[in-house]
Symmetry: C2
Subunit: 87 residues, 2 copies
Protein backbone atom coordinates (compact mmCIF):
# COMPACT_ATOMS: atom_id res chain seq x y z
CA UNK A 1 0.00 0.00 0.00
CA UNK A 2 2.56 2.56 -1.12
CA UNK A 3 2.06 6.20 -2.04
CA UNK A 4 1.21 6.14 -5.75
CA UNK A 5 0.36 2.49 -6.19
CA UNK A 6 -3.38 2.81 -6.62
CA UNK A 7 -4.82 4.80 -9.47
CA UNK A 8 -8.30 6.26 -9.59
CA UNK A 9 -9.67 3.53 -11.89
CA UNK A 10 -8.60 0.88 -9.41
CA UNK A 11 -9.88 2.92 -6.50
CA UNK A 12 -13.43 3.10 -7.87
CA UNK A 13 -13.46 -0.51 -9.03
CA UNK A 14 -14.57 -1.74 -5.63
CA UNK A 15 -18.28 -1.28 -4.75
CA UNK A 16 -17.54 -0.68 -1.08
CA UNK A 17 -15.17 2.14 -1.95
CA UNK A 18 -17.75 3.66 -4.28
CA UNK A 19 -20.23 3.63 -1.41
CA UNK A 20 -17.69 5.25 0.88
CA UNK A 21 -17.31 8.06 -1.63
CA UNK A 22 -21.08 8.50 -1.71
CA UNK A 23 -21.19 8.80 2.06
CA UNK A 24 -18.44 11.39 2.07
CA UNK A 25 -20.20 13.38 -0.65
CA UNK A 26 -22.77 14.37 1.94
CA UNK A 27 -20.54 15.05 4.94
CA UNK A 28 -17.11 14.59 6.40
CA UNK A 29 -16.99 11.49 8.57
CA UNK A 30 -14.65 9.68 10.95
CA UNK A 31 -13.73 6.05 10.25
CA UNK A 32 -16.04 4.74 12.94
CA UNK A 33 -19.08 6.45 11.43
CA UNK A 34 -18.16 5.22 7.98
CA UNK A 35 -17.74 1.64 9.11
CA UNK A 36 -21.18 1.71 10.74
CA UNK A 37 -22.56 1.58 7.20
CA UNK A 38 -20.83 -1.65 6.23
CA UNK A 39 -20.97 -5.26 7.37
CA UNK A 40 -17.17 -5.47 7.45
CA UNK A 41 -14.64 -4.71 10.16
CA UNK A 42 -13.35 -1.25 10.95
CA UNK A 43 -9.90 -2.44 9.93
CA UNK A 44 -11.20 -3.35 6.48
CA UNK A 45 -12.87 0.04 6.10
CA UNK A 46 -9.65 1.76 7.16
CA UNK A 47 -7.83 -0.11 4.39
CA UNK A 48 -10.36 1.05 1.83
CA UNK A 49 -9.91 4.62 3.04
CA UNK A 50 -6.17 4.24 2.68
CA UNK A 51 -6.56 3.13 -0.92
CA UNK A 52 -8.91 6.04 -1.62
CA UNK A 53 -6.40 8.44 -0.12
CA UNK A 54 -3.62 6.99 -2.28
CA UNK A 55 -5.78 7.87 -5.26
CA UNK A 56 -6.18 11.35 -3.72
CA UNK A 57 -9.94 10.95 -3.60
CA UNK A 58 -10.08 11.55 0.15
CA UNK A 59 -7.95 13.14 2.84
CA UNK A 60 -7.98 12.42 6.55
CA UNK A 61 -7.41 15.03 9.23
CA UNK A 62 -6.78 14.24 12.84
CA UNK A 63 -9.29 15.83 15.21
CA UNK A 64 -8.72 14.69 18.76
CA UNK A 65 -8.79 10.93 18.74
CA UNK A 66 -10.81 10.80 15.54
CA UNK A 67 -9.64 10.92 11.96
CA UNK A 68 -12.11 12.81 9.83
CA UNK A 69 -12.23 11.92 6.15
CA UNK A 70 -13.14 14.43 3.44
CA UNK A 71 -14.00 13.78 -0.20
CA UNK A 72 -11.91 15.27 -2.97
CA UNK A 73 -13.61 14.31 -6.24
CA UNK A 74 -11.09 16.06 -8.51
CA UNK A 75 -9.19 12.91 -9.59
CA UNK A 76 -12.44 11.57 -11.02
CA UNK A 77 -11.95 13.95 -13.93
CA UNK A 78 -9.33 11.53 -15.22
CA UNK A 79 -12.05 8.91 -15.55
CA UNK A 80 -14.38 11.47 -17.06
CA UNK A 81 -11.79 12.37 -19.68
CA UNK A 82 -11.07 8.76 -20.48
CA UNK A 83 -14.79 8.16 -20.95
CA UNK A 84 -15.29 11.20 -23.16
CA UNK A 85 -13.48 9.34 -25.91
CA UNK A 86 -16.42 6.93 -26.26
CA UNK A 87 -19.32 9.35 -26.25
Amino acid sequence: MSAVKHDVFQAIADPTRREVLRLLANEELPISKISDHFPISRTAVAKHLHILSEAQLVTGKRVGREKIYTLHPEPLTEVQQWLSYYE
Copy 2:
Protein backbone atom coordinates in the same frame (compact mmCIF):
# COMPACT_ATOMS: atom_id res chain seq x y z
CA MET B 1 -12.20 -16.45 -14.16
CA SER B 2 -15.63 -16.86 -12.70
CA ALA B 3 -18.92 -17.35 -14.50
CA VAL B 4 -20.23 -14.37 -12.54
CA LYS B 5 -20.52 -11.31 -14.73
CA HIS B 6 -17.78 -8.79 -14.43
CA ASP B 7 -18.75 -5.31 -13.47
CA VAL B 8 -17.90 -2.51 -15.89
CA PHE B 9 -15.99 -0.67 -13.16
CA GLN B 10 -13.84 -3.73 -12.64
CA ALA B 11 -13.45 -4.22 -16.38
CA ILE B 12 -11.96 -0.77 -16.91
CA ALA B 13 -9.80 -0.92 -13.79
CA ASP B 14 -6.99 -2.66 -15.63
CA PRO B 15 -4.77 -0.49 -17.87
CA THR B 16 -4.28 -3.26 -20.43
CA ARG B 17 -8.02 -3.64 -20.82
CA ARG B 18 -8.44 0.11 -21.22
CA GLU B 19 -5.86 -0.01 -24.02
CA VAL B 20 -7.68 -2.89 -25.67
CA LEU B 21 -10.85 -0.80 -25.71
CA ARG B 22 -8.93 2.06 -27.33
CA LEU B 23 -7.68 -0.25 -30.05
CA LEU B 24 -11.16 -1.54 -30.74
CA ALA B 25 -12.52 2.00 -30.90
CA ASN B 26 -10.75 2.39 -34.24
CA GLU B 27 -11.45 -0.97 -35.82
CA GLU B 28 -12.61 -4.51 -35.23
CA LEU B 29 -9.67 -6.80 -34.59
CA PRO B 30 -8.89 -10.48 -34.12
CA ILE B 31 -7.13 -11.62 -30.95
CA SER B 32 -3.81 -12.06 -32.71
CA LYS B 33 -3.78 -8.48 -33.95
CA ILE B 34 -4.74 -7.20 -30.52
CA SER B 35 -2.03 -9.17 -28.77
CA ASP B 36 0.58 -7.76 -31.15
CA HIS B 37 0.18 -4.49 -29.24
CA PHE B 38 1.07 -5.94 -25.84
CA PRO B 39 4.13 -7.53 -24.29
CA ILE B 40 2.05 -10.34 -22.80
CA SER B 41 1.00 -13.71 -24.19
CA ARG B 42 -1.95 -14.22 -26.51
CA THR B 43 -3.58 -16.31 -23.79
CA ALA B 44 -3.40 -13.40 -21.37
CA VAL B 45 -4.95 -11.07 -23.94
CA ALA B 46 -7.71 -13.61 -24.58
CA LYS B 47 -8.50 -13.57 -20.85
CA HIS B 48 -8.74 -9.80 -20.85
CA LEU B 49 -11.10 -10.01 -23.82
CA HIS B 50 -13.20 -12.52 -21.94
CA ILE B 51 -13.52 -10.17 -18.99
CA LEU B 52 -14.44 -7.30 -21.31
CA SER B 53 -17.08 -9.44 -22.97
CA GLU B 54 -18.55 -10.42 -19.59
CA ALA B 55 -18.96 -6.71 -18.98
CA GLN B 56 -20.62 -6.50 -22.41
CA LEU B 57 -18.04 -4.01 -23.60
CA VAL B 58 -16.99 -6.21 -26.52
CA THR B 59 -18.38 -9.06 -28.55
CA GLY B 60 -16.46 -11.65 -30.54
CA LYS B 61 -17.65 -13.14 -33.79
CA ARG B 62 -16.12 -16.16 -35.41
CA VAL B 63 -14.87 -15.53 -38.94
CA GLY B 64 -13.11 -18.56 -40.31
CA ARG B 65 -10.38 -19.45 -37.87
CA GLU B 66 -10.26 -15.95 -36.44
CA LYS B 67 -12.37 -14.40 -33.72
CA ILE B 68 -13.04 -10.76 -34.46
CA TYR B 69 -13.73 -8.49 -31.51
CA THR B 70 -15.95 -5.43 -31.70
CA LEU B 71 -16.34 -2.61 -29.20
CA HIS B 72 -19.68 -1.91 -27.55
CA PRO B 73 -19.20 1.19 -25.40
CA GLU B 74 -22.79 1.34 -24.11
CA PRO B 75 -22.09 -0.12 -20.64
CA LEU B 76 -19.73 2.78 -20.01
CA THR B 77 -22.77 4.96 -19.46
CA GLU B 78 -23.09 3.30 -16.06
CA VAL B 79 -19.73 4.79 -15.13
CA GLN B 80 -20.74 8.09 -16.70
CA GLN B 81 -23.87 8.19 -14.60
CA TRP B 82 -22.04 7.28 -11.44
CA LEU B 83 -19.56 10.07 -12.10
CA SER B 84 -22.22 12.66 -12.82
CA TYR B 85 -22.99 12.70 -9.09
CA TYR B 86 -19.65 14.35 -8.40
CA GLU B 87 -19.60 17.04 -11.06
